[in-house]
């Protein structure tokens, strides 16, 4: 066969099944990728391998009885889920939260952001091919934060720490000194990580200009969180619609312009720094006092509906609750950050190679517990 003949050889697109059990799908996500050689033509996501019907289960539980189930949504950041749900019930029933509890909640939510971004960055680098080394360093730091969570609630993954009207128990005396030590260490750790990665040639080659998400598409596809901010959408609910006591803290909202995988990675690193700043301020300001409002075990909110949202580590997490004045929600809808952030994936991966598909997918940072619910 001559070279010219070889050039005119026709290739046919073929379908590659990717997942649900694959180390780079971060759970049980599955997609059917249509490929032309190594180039991705299209993908079709397939969901539902972790569908547990959490919204239906909510209708059969009391308002306070649903808190432990929220842990199972995005199980990487359970504290944030607790917070989002409790805020929503408090809005629906008009419950005031004591000052000290608000501060504890903010500290927990920001620690949770550190945990989430550590895992997101670590596994993202894993997907880029930096096999295991960065993720193990990240997990080492995460362990230190999990020790703190263990200290306040005895759990390392599904905390069930927040309650409607506050938190389940006050932080122990040794918590704040331990947190102080951790914050100092974390600043140093992030610097170290940055030195290793920021100008790393392989990382730059794999992520710069890869999987660009434009600002317009990000808004139109309802993308939120670090993915949206990486595309230049300066939107952070802690600033745009301050909940809890976030209006008392001084912090930056990092944004980037290009919207490629590198920008999304950079935003997460920068957000970790900002979280540490918020924790530092909260530690200085935290007052003493009760940590839980006097809320009956069975709450009967008035007839009506409420939607409260928070800036969870992955983006906007919200709970839409409808009450018919009974002890259980009439309807409980979770606004799933991870599911909605996947909307634009199809457009982001078209025309890229299979290896880039993994990197782009990893840069979105999803958790299947929240996608499927």
């Amino acid at each position: 066969m001559t070279t010219t003949e070889m050039m005119t050889l026709k290739t046919e697109p073929f379908v590659l099944n990717f997942g649900p059990v694959h180390p780079s799908t971060h759970g049980v996500y599955r997609m059917r990728a249509t490929l032309d050689g190594e180039v991705v033509l299209d993908i079709e996501p397939v969901f539902g391998y972790l569908h547990r019907g959490i919204e239906k289960l909510a209708e059969e539980r009391t308002f306070s009885g649903f808190v432990p189930l929220t842990d199972r949504l995005d199980y990487i950041s359970s504290m944030s889920n607790n917070l989002g749900y409790c805020l929503s019930v408090e809005k629906l029933a008009g419950i005031e939260v004591p000052e000290r509890a608000e501060y504890i909640r903010v500290i927990m939510a920001e620690l949770q952001r550190l945990v989430n971004h550590a895992i997101a960055v670590g596994t993202f680098l894993n997907d880029c091919g930096a096999y295991m080394t960065p993720v193990v360093y990240m997990l080492r730091e995460r362990e230190k934060i999990l020790d703190l969570f263990d200290m306040v609630c005895g759990q390392r993954l599904t905390y069930n720490y927040m309650r409607i009207g506050g938190v389940s128990q006050d932080i122990p005396d040794e918590f704040l000194p331990a947190l102080r030590r951790l914050v100092n260490q974390m600043f140093f750790f992030i610097e170290e990580m940055e030195r290793l990665l920021k100008q790393n040639e392989i990382l730059l080659a794999r992520t710069k200009g890869v999987g660009i998400l434009s600002r317009e598409t990000a808004i139109n596809c309802s993308i939120s969180g670090p993915v949206a901010r990486g595309s230049g959408v300066k939107w952070d609910l802690r600033r745009a619609d301050p909940y809890s006591i976030y209006d008392r803290f001084d912090f930056d909202i990092p944004t980037a312009e290009v919207g490629d995988c590198y920008d999304r990675y950079r935003i997460r690193i920068e957000e970790m720094r900002q979280s540490l700043h918020i924790i530092e301020q909260a530690m200085k300001q935290i007052p003493s006092g009760p940590v839980r409002a006097d809320v009956p075990h069975l709450i009967r909110p008035p007839v009506g509906e409420a939607y409260a949202h928070i800036e969870a580590p992955k983006g906007e997490l919200g709970f839409y609750l409808v009450s018919d004045n009974s002890i259980a929600p009439y309807r409980c809808h979770v606004r799933p950050t991870s599911l909605i952030n996947l909307t634009a994936l199809r457009e982001m991966v078209r025309g890229w190679k299979v290896a880039d598909l993994i990197v782009i997918f990893g840069s979105i940072d999803i958790c299947l517990g929240e996608v499927d619910r």
């Binding site: 019907g53 309802s222 619609d241």
Partner: protein, 147 residues
Amino acid sequence: MTVALSGKEIASQIEEKFPGSVEESGRDSLVVKSDSLLPVAAFLRDTETLKFDYLSYVTAVDYFSYFEVVYQLTSLEHNHSIVIKTRCYGRENPVVPSVIGIWQGADFQEREIYDLMGIKFEGHPNMKRIFLWEGFAGHPLRKDYLS
């Protein structure tokens, strides 16, 4: 702080443009007739003073006599929000027009509503179940679904 705009005020603006399209309006939400949902949605997105370019979420509630589809809209530029609802009557084959052409973010969420609540979205390019498998009997989030 995201300002929740008054449903009554937005309703009067919509009524001016599309008479008879608003069914009901409240403090921070309004109910639009389903046959005029698409022009109203486009109006809300494209009007300069409103500019609801971000669809926070879509969900549906079963009230037995009708289904209510809820859209929470936000304007990132003006930092305000509004809740738009539309109702569909009849349990056999409820249909609502799909807003995917206006806000693409509705893609998976409308499929989820179809899967779990059984409301079809007309105009959605891929209207099939998302979490449960094809052939699953019933729609679990309906109030009359018995597990």
